[in-house]
Symmetry: C2
Subunit: 423 residues, 2 copies
Amino acid sequence: MTGATTSTGGSPQQAVAHRTGETVLTVVDHHGTPLADTEVTVEQTRHAFGFGNIGFDFLELANGELTGSAAAAAEHLADLYTDVFTTATLPFYWGRFEPERGRPDTARLRRTAEWFRDRGVALKGHPLVWHTVQPDWLLGLPLDEVERLQRERIRREVGEFAGLVDTWDAINEVVIMPVFDNGDNAITPLARAKGRIPTIRMAFEEARATNPHATLLLNDFDLSSAYECLIEGVLEAGVQIDAIGLQTHMHQGYWGEETMLAMVDRFARYGLPLHLTETSLVSGDLMPAHIVDLNDHQVPSWPSTPEGEARQADEVERHYRSLVGHPAVESVTYWGITDAGAWLGAPIGLVRSDGSPKPSYEALRRLVKDEWWTAPTVLRTDERGRVSVRGFRGEYRADVRGASTAFGVGRAPGQQELVAPAG
Amino acid sequence: MTGATTSTGGSPQQAVAHRTGETVLTVVDHHGTPLADTEVTVEQTRHAFGFGNIGFDFLELANGELTGSAAAAAEHLADLYTDVFTTATLPFYWGRFEPERGRPDTARLRRTAEWFRDRGVALKGHPLVWHTVQPDWLLGLPLDEVERLQRERIRREVGEFAGLVDTWDAINEVVIMPVFDNGDNAITPLARAKGRIPTIRMAFEEARATNPHATLLLNDFDLSSAYECLIEGVLEAGVQIDAIGLQTHMHQGYWGEETMLAMVDRFARYGLPLHLTETSLVSGDLMPAHIVDLNDHQVPSWPSTPEGEARQADEVERHYRSLVGHPAVESVTYWGITDAGAWLGAPIGLVRSDGSPKPSYEALRRLVKDEWWTAPTVLRTDERGRVSVRGFRGEYRADVRGASTAFGVGRAPGQQELVAPAG
C-alpha cells in the first residue's frame, strides 16, 4: 500500500506479531498538501509492553543518601536499569514502610517514585495487603481494629501516590493467607475470619474508591488450581480485577517454555491481562527441589558462576521470548537488577554485585532495545506523502526537517499527519 | 437428678461426649400416674451419626440375579454390612447407569435402594455430575447439548429416586474438573467453558429444584487450599451447599490423626457439616508415594496380608475415633465392604474376598455396636417414675411390661412419657 515501510527484524517479529502494529504517517506542508519524496526519521521511544523490574535498589540514590563511589556505582546501575526497564516495582511492605505506627516512609518513597518518573519509568506499588513483613505494632490488636487500620493504610498509600503510582498489587498471596503458619501476623487471622473473597474485596474496593484510575492486581505465587478457584470465586462475586499477577520465582530452575505457557494458558482463560509480576532465574547453583517455602533456604554464600550466568542468559531470553509471544501477557517484571542485596542472597540479578552486567542483562537488552525495537530509521514518503511505520506497539517519534512529532503504534492501525516546517 | 441411668462405656464416651445426649423417660399408668420402681428395658436401634459404606456389591443380590452359593455368600456379606452400616452409597456413574442413551438402569437401582431401605439402611447417590465414567455417546456433542442433557439427567435421577435416595453428591471433584486431562470426556470442556462455580450452581440448582428436601454435597479428593478457595467462592456466590464431602482414599498409607484433624479443622470453619465420603485403608502393601493419580497404579495382584490386616484394623479404629470425636463431622463412609471387586484391586475391604471379616471389620463393629452403642439394658424408675437414658445420639426403644415405645436421644435433652400397660 505505501511505498516506504520500516520493520525491525521482520522474521523474529513474526513470533510476536500480535505485539506489533502499524501507523501510517502523512507528511503535509502548512497548507495541508502532501509532500512526496520527503525524508522522515522515525524511532521508538517506549514499549507498550511492560518490561519491569524492582526499584528497591534506588531509594538511597533517589533520596540523595549516597556519596562518592557509592553514588557513582548507583548511578551506573541506574543507567543500566533505565536503558531496559519501563516499570519499577516499589516496596510498600507495611512493616518496612511504617515500622513505627504513624510514621510512614511516604516522603522517601515519593522522591523515589518521582526520580523514576523523571527517567521515564512508570511505577507499581507492592503490596497493599499481605500477611508477611507486617508491622509489629499490629500484633495483638483486635481484628476489627486490624481491619480498620488495614483499610486506612490502603486509602492512605493509594491516595498519597495517585498520579505517580497508579498500578498496585492490591493484595498478595491470598491462597495461603488464611492458613499461613510461617510466622505470627495480624492479617492471617483477619483473612481467616473474613474469608478470602471478602478480604480481596476489602483491598480492591478501598483502593478503587481512592484511585478509580488505578490498575489493581491480585498477585500470587500459588499457580495451582487453588489460584484458579480463587479467581473464579472473586469474579463470580463481582470484584473487579484489572490484571492477574503471576509470580515465577525460579530459584529451583527454569520451568521451561512448555510448562510456563501451559500455566499462562490456564490463567488466560479468564480474559484478563496477565502480569508476570515476579520473575527470577539464578546464575549460580539451583536451590534444592525439596524446599517448599523458598524463604526456608538459607546459605552463607550463593555465588554467581560463569556456567550459571550462561544458563541464566539463555533462560532469560527463552522466558521473555515465550511470554512476549503469548497474547494475554501484558508485562513481565524481573525480580532484581543486581545481586547486591538480592532476595535470599541468590544470584538472580542481571548485574553482578560489582556492577558489571551479566550475559543475561545483555541478552534481555538485545531483545528489548534491538530485536523488538525500532532504532532511528530514515524513510521517504511516497507520492501521496506517506510512510508506514510497522513495529512493536508503543510510543514513537518522527522527525521531519528538524520538527519532531510524537505518535503511537497501537493494536489498531493508526494514521497521523505530520506538518513539515517550510523546507 | 434421676435415680437410674444408663451409659455405655462411660469414660471412652467422654472423648466423643458431643455425640451423646440424654432423654428422660417417665413411666405412667393409663391414668397418667407415675409408676415408681418399674422395670424399663432400653436399647439403641440406630445411630444418628452416619456410618456409611458403598452399596455397589449388592445390586445382583437385591435384583435376584444370584443363585446357590453366590446368593448365600452375598447374603452373608449383607448381614455383615447391615450389622454395622447405616447408609449405603449407590453408584449413579452416568456412563454405567446409562451406557446406551435413553436406557438408564433406573429399575435395577430402585430395587437395590428399596432392598437397602427395607434393611434399615439409608441411601446416598453418587455422583450426579462428574467428568469420569462418562457415557461415550456424550462425546462430540455441542456444549449446549451436553449441558442440556446433564441438566435433564440430574432432574431425572433426583426425581425418580426422591423419597428413597435423598442424599446426593451433586457434583464430584470440581477442583480438577476443568483442567482434567486423564481421559476425553464431555464434562471437562463444559466446566471449562462455564467456569467451576456456574457448573456447581447448575448441579445444585437442578437437584434442589427437583427434590427440595435432599441433602446435597460438594465432594472432592483435592483437600488442599484449592478446595477451600472453591468452597469460599461457592458460598460467596450464594449456592446452598448442605454438606462438604471430603474424600480420604489412603492407599498410600494412613495420614494419622493429627494430619486428618488439621484437615478437618480447615474445612470445619465454613460452619457446614462435613461428610468423610470416601475412606479407604489397605490391608496389604501400600501404594508407592510417588503415584499422584491413584488410578495410574496398576498391579496384577494386591493381596491382603496378616500384617497388613493388623495395621488396617488399628488404623480404622484410630480413624473413626478421631473423626467421630470431631464435632463438625456428620458421617464417615468407608469405600468397600469386601476385597472382591474392590477399586484398583486394592485390599481395602473390611471383609476378605472369601467372605471372612478382617480384624478391621471387628474393630469397627466393636466401636459402632458396642463401645458407642446402648445394648438392651434393664433400668428401674425412681420415685417419680423416671429413668434417664444417656447415650450416643440416635433412635432408641423402651419396653415396659411388653409394650414397646420408640424414642430418640438428640442434641438437646429430651423427655418422653411411656404409658405402661396395666400390670
